[in-house]
């Protein structure tokens, strides 16, 4: 496959996945802020910005951190490259560049999403339309993925799309899990009161894992179990272990003449998740663990770039 095509496919899937996860992340922040008393509201929205790595970007544009502004900045703001609007735009632009490599159903669905997105942007999102908007983003993302599965030949194009999806998801789940750290600074092993419970459950819901938690543990929600579920359990579709298992498998499938180092690093990270323990994670500190994980995901992205997308002229 053309390197440039692979590049576009990878970013098409990554951008759509990012749009979905931004919606999930905003959703959990929003839910948490509803539960809290006014003085701490500030904290959640700041956390949202810093885990997205967009704090500076925001401060350059808005005078202060207030929920309505952050919400707008992260959803409809076309000047923010990390907003849902921008992510969907990027997904569509990448798809447009490789229309020949995807099925017409995939293109039509994504183009439709983009046209809808523009309409929604023009209309704005009202307070009571917030949840509906997040639901819409998730649905469009599910649809894109479903159509990809249902219509695309499982060749290299498919693999690069999946690689984009799972690398981004690994990154985003780690960030969502880290929200809790930013919001509640006290020791993570402390079992909090009702507010704490609602926060963990909001977090679980935002990654569609609340029911899975109940089913798996049939017990109260504790931070260690949440972390175990979202980090180590390979049967949880959004967990770090599940994502890395997929990334590792895909990288082995698209092995080229120069993919040795990439393959080695993916294998290593995947093995650590597979054989890791939740005690090990908490000994290190969940926040520290997640930070290190994010850095390694970033490196993998770089390596994918040099391995597949920058072909040299020999």
């Amino acid at each position: 496959m053309l390197s440039s095509t692979a590049d576009h496919l990878f970013w098409m899937a990554r951008s759509m996945e990012r749009a979905e996860n931004t919606a999930r992340m905003l959703d959990v922040t929003y839910r948490m802020s509803l539960l809290k008393h006014s003085m701490d509201v500030f904290n959640e929205w700041c956390a949202m910005l810093s885990i997205s790595g967009l704090h500076e970007e925001y401060e350059a544009r808005y005078p202060e951190v207030i929920p309505a502004n952050v919400m707008h900045f992260m959803t409809l703001d076309e000047k923010n490259p990390g907003s849902i609007f921008s992510s969907i735009n990027k997904a569509r632009e990448n798809a447009r560049a490789v229309r020949g490599a995807i099925t017409s159903e995939m293109w039509e669905a994504l183009n439709h999403t983009w046209l809808d997105m523009r309409e929604r942007q023009a209309r704005g999102i009202s307070e009571d339309g917030i949840s509906d908007f997040f639901e819409w983003v998730k649905e469009r993302s599910h649809l894109s993925r479903g159509i990809t599965y249902g219509t695309l030949l499982q060749d290299e194009a498919f693999h690069f799309l999946r690689l984009g999806t799972f690398l981004e998801r690994a990154d985003n789940t780690a960030r969502i899990l880290d929200v809790k750290y930013h919001v509640l600074l006290p020791s993570l092993t402390d079992v909090g009161g009702a507010v704490d419970y609602y926060q963990w459950s909001a977090l679980l819901r935002s990654v569609s894992s609340f029911e899975a938690y109940r089913k798996t543990y049939r017990d109260v929600i504790t931070p260690m179990r949440v972390a175990e579920l979202l980090v180590l359990r390979a049967d949880m579709p959004r967990s770090l272990a599940a994502c890395m298992q997929e990334v590792d498998r895909l990288v082995r499938q698209i092995t080229g003449p120069r993919s040795g180092e990439l393959s080695r690093r993916c294998g290593l990270l995947q093995a650590e998740l597979r054989f890791g323990t939740v005690d090990g994670i908490f000994d290190k500190g969940l926040h520290e663990y997640l930070n290190e994980f994010l850095a390694r995901i970033y490196e993998l992205g770089d390596l994918i770039n040099t391995t597949y997308f920058w072909s040299t002229d020999e």
Binding site: L2, G100, H112, D313
Partner: protein
């Protein structure tokens, strides 16, 4: 008022045989149903993203839909047979001419076309002199624009031998009609067009260098911002080949490669939708960022096929158009089956005088213009426009040709006030390689403005599905 031929109705308002079945259907279908289907078509085209970037004053590169009209243009079987024979003959002569012009130049030696008109033409590429191309084919894909003036009376308006576009609309229009009105296709036998991409791929493979048995064919586009990008991507997808931009390719040892996730892979045939000037910064325009350095050298070395060939512009230039009937006589030893529109050569002073006196009746075109830009439609122009154009012609007569305003045929078309006749033309796509092939019909363009003769999509034209009846 000149008599205007309508495709559907004869002079007495009766329905022609080819339209009988369609007219019955139209009469028995409720207007609400048709209105709904038309909206459905609009939505579907938008969603599919079949758009066309328009070069306009605002330079926004806005994506616009080309309006699609649901009334088909129907061509009777016997008429198409005649047209097809004429197209084959013309494509053959044009390719023979191109080969001759870049080799022995017999047509000049025989005194049939003045040397100056060819050798002094800006479209003449002396870099191509003596270059052999596979099968001696230059115009692998030709879009030959036809208009009808009367019963059985078709004229060639112009030949497009560089990078003719529009075939994707032909295919999408058919798909749309079958989706909206499947019942129409069961009522009569309409020749299929959907296999065009297969014919195109076969054609491109048949001209691969080195008798390569499994040649790698690619479509080369200037990129997403080109007005016809949709079509480039569409054709690549339909043929199942890669769509490349200049930066995806590189040349080493006169061999062209594309950069892939598994390293370099050789390219044998490039269906390029990028102008000669931008192909290779080492050979042509140095500032071209769209091209591939070394591509022309690889081409000259016979290591890669470009379709269409470099230098085809010399044959579709409007000044050369005048000579195509002579080319047919010279190379095929036959009389032309399809006529040219009578054309005034303004480099001849006698004809120039005549044209200047009759500007209000004539259509004047720039020799190198395309897309309906830079032309004067005499009967529709104001006195001031005519005065300004006259000055331009006097300053540089050889830049222009003039033709009588043809009474282009009309076809019923949906407009705001209902169904009304609008002028149409036809662009069939002729493929030349090992054989000459084409799908029946082509792209019908329609001028949506009342009385307008300009069908170009950049000038507000629309398209229609084109049906060639099988019996």
């Amino acid at each position: 008022m000149k008599f205007i031929y309508d495709e559907m109705r004869d002079a007495d308002g009766g329905v022609r045989a080819s339209y009988k079945s369609f007219a019955n259907w139209l009469e028995s279908t409720l207007p609400e149903v048709i209105a709904r289907k038309r909206r459905e078509a609009d939505l579907a085209f938008h969603r599919v993203g079949i758009t066309f970037a328009v070069y306009g004053a605002d330079n926004s590169g806005a994506e616009r839909l080309i309006p699609f009209d649901i009334v088909p243009r129907i061509i009777a079987a016997h008429e198409w047979r005649q047209i097809e024979a004429g197209l084959r003959q013309r494509a053959k002569a044009l390719n023979a001419f191109l080969h001759d012009v870049y080799h022995d130049q017999n047509i000049i030696k025989a005194g049939r076309i003045p040397a100056q008109q060819i050798l002094g033409n800006a479209q003449y590429r002396k870099e191509m002199l003596g270059v052999d191309v596979p099968g001696n084919i230059y115009a692998h894909i030709a879009g030959i624009d036809l208009v009808r003036a009367g019963e059985g009376e078709y004229y060639v308006l112009e030949d497009n031998l560089r990078t003719p576009s529009g075939v994707s609309y032909m295919l999408e229009d058919r798909k749309m009609m079958m989706r909206l009105f499947p019942e129409l296709f069961s009522r009569q036998a309409i020749a299929p067009v959907e296999h065009y991409p297969d014919l195109l791929l076969d054609n491109l493979r048949s001209v691969a260098p080195d008798n390569e048995s499994y040649p790698n064919v690619v479509v080369m586009t200037p990129g997403q911002f080109n007005s016809a990008y949709f079509e480039h991507a569409f054709l690549a997808q339909q043929m199942g080949v890669e769509l490349v931009e200049g930066h995806d390719l590189f040349v080493q040892d006169d061999t062209v490669f594309m950069r892939t996730t598994h390293g370099p892979r050789r390219v044998h045939v490039i269906y390029r939708r990028i102008d000669d000037d931008f192909l290779d910064p080492l050979a042509f325009r140095k500032d071209s960022a769209l091209g591939v350095p070394g591509l022309f050298a690889a081409y000259r070395a016979g290591r890669v096929t470009l379709a269409n060939a470099v230098g085809t512009g010399i044959a579709d230039d409007k000044a050369m158009y005048i000579h195509v009937p002579e080319m047919i006589r010279f190379y095929c030893d036959e009389e032309p089956i399809l006529s040219n529109v009578p054309t005034h050569d303004l480099s001849k002073s006698q004809e120039l005088q005549h044209v200047l006196e009759h500007l209000s009746e004539l259509v004047v075109k720039e020799v190198h213009g395309s897309g309906g830009y830079g032309m004067l439609v005499g009967p529709a122009a104001s006195k001031e426009e005519i005065r300004l154009f006259r000055e331009k012609i006097i300053a540089e007569p050889a830049r222009y040709i003039a033709q009588p305003t043809l009474a282009l045929s009309t076809c019923p078309t949906f407009v705001e006030s209902g169904i009304a006749p609008r002028h149409i033309d036809l662009r069939p796509f002729v493929l030349s390689g090992k054989d000459i092939t084409m799908v029946p019909g082509g792209l019908t363009r329609v001028a949506l403005k009342e009385g307008s003769l300009v069908v170009n999509s950049s000038q507000g034209g629309g398209t229609k599905d084109t049906w060639v009846l099988e019996n």
